[in-house]
């Protein structure tokens, strides 16, 4: 019985690692916890088995699912006008440096940045939190973000403290 359980344990562990979807991995982890609790019981440690069953399979599963629900990408839209896509303007406005600074900020704050280059105008009203729109207005870089977006506010403060981005502007919608 114990060896069968141990084999299933290894199988669920490999399944946890190999799944593509995070939610499936969380469920497999819960199954793993239940099976390892049963193994503890067979080994003669019912105390540990109860604790493992309650904490490992109930609480961590629910906590992981809630955390996955909260997990959001930080989307950065970079707006080009058709004229702007040539090297001189690109260098002059140092988008690359700006993006590097934004990425350092994101890694410090546990955000997952995702840059999207567009030529179309983005509908600003439809964007919620964790969306940032970058564009150039009157030779100044302008950030626009949702009014409740605290992280973007922090990002703006972080950028405007730096010398090379001191002329940066913000627009809140």
């Amino acid at each position: 019985m114990k060896s069968i359980m141990l084999i299933i344990l290894v199988v669920t562990a490999i399944m946890t690692l190999q799944t593509k979807k995070m939610k499936n991995a969380v469920i497999y982890l819960g199954v793993f916890s239940i099976i390892i609790a049963f193994v503890y019981l067979l080994q003669g440690a019912p105390d540990v088995a109860i604790a493992e069953a309650v904490i490992g399979s109930t609480m961590t599963t629910i906590l992981y699912i809630v955390a996955l629900h909260k997990y959001k990408l930080y989307r950065i839209y970079i707006n080009f006008d058709a004229i702007e896509i040539n090297d001189s303007v690109y260098k002059k406005n140092n988008y690359n440096d700006l993006l590097k600074s934004i990425k350092t900020f994101c890694y410090k704050n546990d955000l997952d940045p995702m840059t999207i280059y567009t030529v179309d105008k983005i509908n600003l009203k439809g964007m919620g939190k964790y969306h940032l729109n970058l564009e150039i207005v009157d030779y100044h870089i302008q950030l626009s973000y949702h009014r409740n977006d605290i992280k973007s506010e922090e990002l703006f403060d972080y950028l405007s403290k730096k010398d090379e981005f001191s002329t940066i502007r913000k627009k809140i919608f």
């Binding site: 088995a49 604790a51 609480m59 629910i62 809630v66 546990d110």
Partner: protein, 128 residues
Amino acid sequence: MTNHSTLLSKSLTIVYPFILIFGFYIVVNGHTSPGGGFQGGAVIASVYISKYLVLPVYDYQLEPFKMIEKFMLVIILLLPLTIFLFRMNVMLPEFNVPYLMAMNILIAIKVTCGISIIFFRFVFFETR
């Protein structure tokens, strides 16, 4: 957790009292059978956690929980100290079992409050 399922809420409503009774059983029989304060407290706290699955609404006051938890910590420190300081375990050996039960119950209350606070803080306040 915006769209909650009717199946889950109905079934968990039936299971609630059984989880509670099971938790109390683990706590009270902790000195003779497997289990104890920590495990029973975690089981009782899972009632609160599964209530979140049924109805994800923040209608709790966390301040009393915090107060009770700190108060329990003080009692858990003071009760064994007084008992061993006045050598009650030698003088009154018939009170050893009630002492163990009382300690289990105190630890269970502390663990329940602690895990509930951690969970609700995480679910309702910790955002990016």
